[in-house]
Symmetry: C2
Subunit: 684 residues, 2 copies
């Protein structure tokens, strides 16, 4: 039944050979890799305004300056990442750049930040998508959290089924969004120019400043503007996605990727500037608390503010029942969910790379039935659903946790690139190339400096607002990953073969002990099997909890003529495990070089409830015996008829040699390794 | 840590020899076995009144008649059980009587009813005890459920510690209660006779009849009276306790038990009649819903009615601040909790007997560290706590589920006794004894008829009120116990040794397969151990999920000069378990008479979180392999250094023979069975 359910939800299993990469033309690569940075246009302007209106309407005139700063930053970052694309066409992304140039610890910082940020990409994009759906259909406002978690569940199922990021279907929403927003911007600007400027539904409302945020002067004002700028920087999230995707581009890969990156930057800037301009023109008045809106009266608690993009679209296209409004809202919601989907590609992939490098559990490295990294997908889904639940899918609260990781990774990878160019310059002699390296280094230096500055600003303005949680999460991840790495290192050092010949030498003697509780068929079989293993010494052991039962056992032992000596150990405290452990350890103490083979007769039942009816001491005993050195624990199962149904039928064994044929090292029936590439260190 | 916590709560483990029985004189046996029936005086009168007042105050004149019926019933049941005590001095109780005389299915009906009723004894007694505490300290009213569950938890802990029912401390509350109630009854009656009759606090209130329950005529009136009688029958619960406890009496056991039973009946009747009389004299007006009390006004929702015994005590001793009132309330609460404790003795004991007879899981048959039947105690505690929680510790709601089981068991055991006497009469020739048997049979016939009638009345009047749940629970239990019995029977028939010589014959050949994932020390050790077992054929098997890794393994295999052939099976779907199972089954198909010994190298880690970092496929694989016939599964553990701490140190092995001494069937180091009593069928 669970198997069937899984098949229904996930689909049939896929063979490893079905894994292949499709190379993408630029027109597909742009929407696929850039849906995250482009979609942030949907909320970046809004977050800038929300901070400024804390002080009422009087600081809104800072908006163009802040937008200009964001645009400058975007330009710097895009230029910097074009250098990364050329220098690291393998698509390792920031983690690779930083690990290679600044060392694994710095690389881990980037990895931890990115993992946290992937979670935030899902939560913020989904929450914002839900916001835009609610802007179009306000009746859904009460199902906000449910809808958000539902979208995460749908994305999870889709990705577990192995939906590939190269699917063409994924390109459409991005182009619809770009098209819709550009038409809106152009229409709006034309209306402005011809004197019929659009007017937002909230244009008439005033905003009462938050106590303490009115009439700010000096440092306090600077802080407010910087906070607003920090919020606007969300427009930059996901810019590095193209640099991770270089291998998926058609040749010349780096050039195509760099071109796409530039196009993405240009489109994002145009859209962002356009939406921001229209928000100012149409006088969108948005606040974190509807009750600070003047002119709304008592109904403020039940009033749902529409998103900036919704208000602008309604104003431009003539109201919230126009086709244009619905089109922009639908495209926005779609592209935001799609942006969340990019994290469902990125997170499991990064987790798998980290797992390959032994920083995360091996389970994250394995591909599931549908060749997706199932465990990584599930981990991402769990974390983001929990956050959406905990923060009630509120974009503004969630956004405080965002972009910290993005800028950590920006800054460190720019620094890494500077060191990379330094290295290149040390060996490069061609003057043309040297000149190019010099200019690249200059770009990355500026990039590193600017993004580092923004990182400091973001930290300073957002830390107490919630960013501390992101910092904490990344720190915990970093410490955990180092611990895991250390554990794997210690383990493999401990397990490494040192002296093959000595380790393959068999121990001098095998002393077999068959555990007996009563004399039934499973016990008889265990005795027979134990003897077939030709031990140097064989005895049976029983733990006496009840003297009557032990006497009965002895009687039957003689009656059946069992020619194996039966030892009895008393258990005054009615325990079974401890006396057996003590007995086995005593044998080991007497002859430390021999091995003790413990045979445990077990009967196998078919239903879970049947297990409740039988003593589970065998399972516990086995697990405890494994802790005793020099012991071999053998289960001799007896299958009850009820177990036959539970044993799932399996098909024909594919690669089995008939027993008549000669068997030897040469007759291996393997289909053989098909490629003999570089040997990877083998792991369990 | 969990071990330490257990020691603190439960105490040190006790040796099996510490189990012994103390024989009880009558003066101790009475309070210990009779606390349950005597304590029901605390709620029996109240439940009679609560039903009658559904129709206002006009039906209260039926009370004396109902009380008389209860008293008659009590007399009949006590007389009947005196016969049981003489006929079955072994203390098997109703379950034994009915199983022996009416067959195991009927015995199981009694057992199921009694198990349900033990749970109800705990819930009703605890709920009523809490009620009486609240009557004395009304401020505690809001903690009703918490207090009730708390008392269950305390009783559980005490019983897990192995508090013996023979403890003298347990006798005191019963005598305090008897004394307190008798003094109260005598004082009250004297006050009535001298013309200063006590007046209850609720005497002034009228009661508005429940719509539909006023002016009842004919059948409806009969039903109301019968319902009231059914509720009053709670006075009879626990009467059979003495018949279960016969072996604990001093000699002559049966005579002493019968005398104690008679004394108990007499005391219970006197107390019940006295309390009922005083309740009528002092005009206690009680209702299931305080808002039907007239003269209380708006405050009815917050008004907590005191119990009948509390109102009577307050009226007799001069108010709710008198010493007499507090004394009676304290004694009542104590004896009620003590009555619950008798179920904590009875339930686990009955469960253990049922488990011995293979009707319940074996786990209920084992004594815990403190020689108490820990699993039975925990089961009882869980069920009763759940009921108290679900029914908000409301006595009147809970009482509907009660006494059904009691009367089922009464009726069936009386019928069993009739058949018992019939059997005796068939063989007995002594005229004096025949005469005694005849009169005993007459008593049991009357008893069976009367209790059977009451059972029908209880079923008819209470079924829809909640008794259906008790019937359902008992039915489910009955079906479950039969199913368990059938399962154990089938299993032991399947496992019974048929041909010892043939079953002990070793299989012709052992084909060993060592599972290999990578070549590290655990694998080397598994290979060495497998060779030490001298199999007829030895090979290593690896599942190829990743061609590169398999190639690396092969390379290393040659490099280390491992002289065991390495088979490779491909796993296109990246599974491990299925290819191994298929491989092993294919071997078995080729040579069905040989056994396949599968060796699995495992490494053992010390911390639970380390397990998360390693693939758990070995565990799953082992459990699946056990379903395959003719397979022996051997774990070859490799203890990582971190596991050393987790292996708990154990003391010196107590009964270990030095290896230098001769070993053989004669040298068993057992302390030997100390008694060679009748052989019980041995169970796993």
């Amino acid at each position: 039944m669970p198997g069937l359910l899984k098949r229904l939800l996930i689909g049939r299993a896929m063979r490893s050979e079905e894994l292949h990469e499709t190379l993408l033309p630029k027109r597909l690569a742009l929407p696929i890799f850039a849906s995250d940075p482009l979609s942030s246009v949907a909320y970046a302007t809004q977050e800038i305004l929300l901070v400024l209106t804390l002080g009422g309407l009087s600081y809104l005139h800072f908006t163009p300056w802040i937008a200009a700063a964001v645009v400058t930053l975007m330009t710097v970052v895009v230029l910097s990442y074009r250098q990364v694309v050329y220098a690291y066409p393998s698509g390792g992304g920031s983690y690779e750049v930083v690990s290679t140039n600044l060392g694994p610890s710095a690389g881990l910082v980037v990895a931890a930040s990115l993992l946290v940020d992937y979670v935030m990409t899902v939560t913020v994009s989904v929450a914002s998508g839900v916001d835009n759906i609610i802007s179009a259909l306000p009746a859904l406002a009460e199902y906000r959290v449910l809808m958000a978690v539902g979208f995460v569940a749908i994305l999870t199922a889709m990705n577990l089924r192995g939906v590939r990021e190269s699917g063409r279907a994924f390109a459409a929403p991005t182009y619809l969004f770009i098209g819709g927003v550009l038409i809106m911007v152009i229409t709006g600007l034309i209306r402005y120019v011809v004197g019929a400027a659009p007017v937002a539904e909230s244009a008439a409302y005033g905003i009462v400043p938050r106590p303490g945020d009115a009439h700010l002067m000096g440092l306090a004002l600077v802080m407010l503007v910087l906070r607003s700028f920090s919020s606007g920087c969300t427009a930059l999230t996901g810019v590095e996605a193209i640099s991770n995707g270089v291998p998926a581009f058609r040749k010349p890969k780096s050039t195509n990727a760099a071109t796409t990156l530039a196009a993405m930057g240009l489109i994002a800037i145009v859209m962002f500037v356009g939406v921001t301009a229209l928000a100012l023109i149409s006088k969108v008045h948005l606040t974190d608390d509807p009750c600070r809106l003047t002119g709304l009266g008592q109904s403020c608690t039940s009033y749902t503010q529409r998103t900036v993009i919704a208000q602008v679209a309604a104003a431009v296209f003539g109201g919230e029942h126009s086709v244009g409004f619905y089109f922009v809202q639908a495209a926005t919601a779609l592209v935001l969910i799609l942006a969340a989907n990019t994290a469902f590609n990125g997170f499991p992939m990064l987790a798998s790379i980290l797992s390959r490098d032994r920083y995360l559990p091996h389970q994250l490295h394995n591909r599931g039935d549908r060749l997706a990294f199932s465990n990584g997908i599930l981990a991402l889904a769990l974390f983001s659903a929990a956050l959406l639940w905990g923060y009630k899918a509120n974009v503004t609260s969630l956004i405080h946790l965002y972009i910290l990781g993005v800028f950590t990774s920006f800054t460190l990878s720019q620094l890494g690139m500077v060191r990379h160019w330094n290295g290149e310059l040390r060996t490069e002699r061609d003057p043309a190339l040297r000149r190019r390296h010099h200019s690249a280094r200059a770009i990355n230096t500026v990039g590193g400096f600017v993004t580092g500055l923004v990182l400091v600003i973001v930290l300073a303005t957002k830390f107490t607002q919630g960013a501390w949680l992101a910092v904490l999460a990344a720190t915990v991840l970093w410490v955990m990953m180092r611990g895991i790495h250390r554990h794997y290192d210690t383990t493999s050092a401990e397990l490494a073969v040192e002296d093959p010949a000595a380790e393959l030498t068999s121990p001098p003697r095998v002393l077999a002990v068959v555990l007996v509780s009563t004399l039934h068929k499973p016990t008889m079989r265990a005795l027979a099997y134990a003897r077939a293993a030709h031990p140097n010494h064989l005895e049976a052991l029983t733990v006496s909890v009840d003297h009557d039962e032990t006497a009965a056992l002895r009687e039957r032992w003689d009656e059946y003529g069992v020619d194996v000596p039966l030892k009895v150990v008393d258990s005054p405290y009615r325990e079974v495990t401890r006396p057996v452990l003590e007995y086995v350890r005593a044998i080991r103490r007497e002859s430390p070089r021999d091995i003790v083979a413990v045979f445990i007769p077990e009967y196998v039942v078919g239903h879970w409830w049947e297990n409740l009816l039988h003593n589970q001491s065998a399972l516990w005993l086995k697990s405890r015996l494994l802790f005793t050195p020099g012991v071999m624990v053998t289960s001799v199962p007896w299958q009850l008829t009820s177990s036959a149904r539970a044993a799932r039928p399996v098909g024909r064994a594919p690669g089995w040699v008939r027993r008549g044929e000669p068997r030897g090292p040469g007759s291996n029936n393997s289909s053989g390794p098909r490629n003999d590439g570089p040997t990877r260190s083998s792991r369990r």
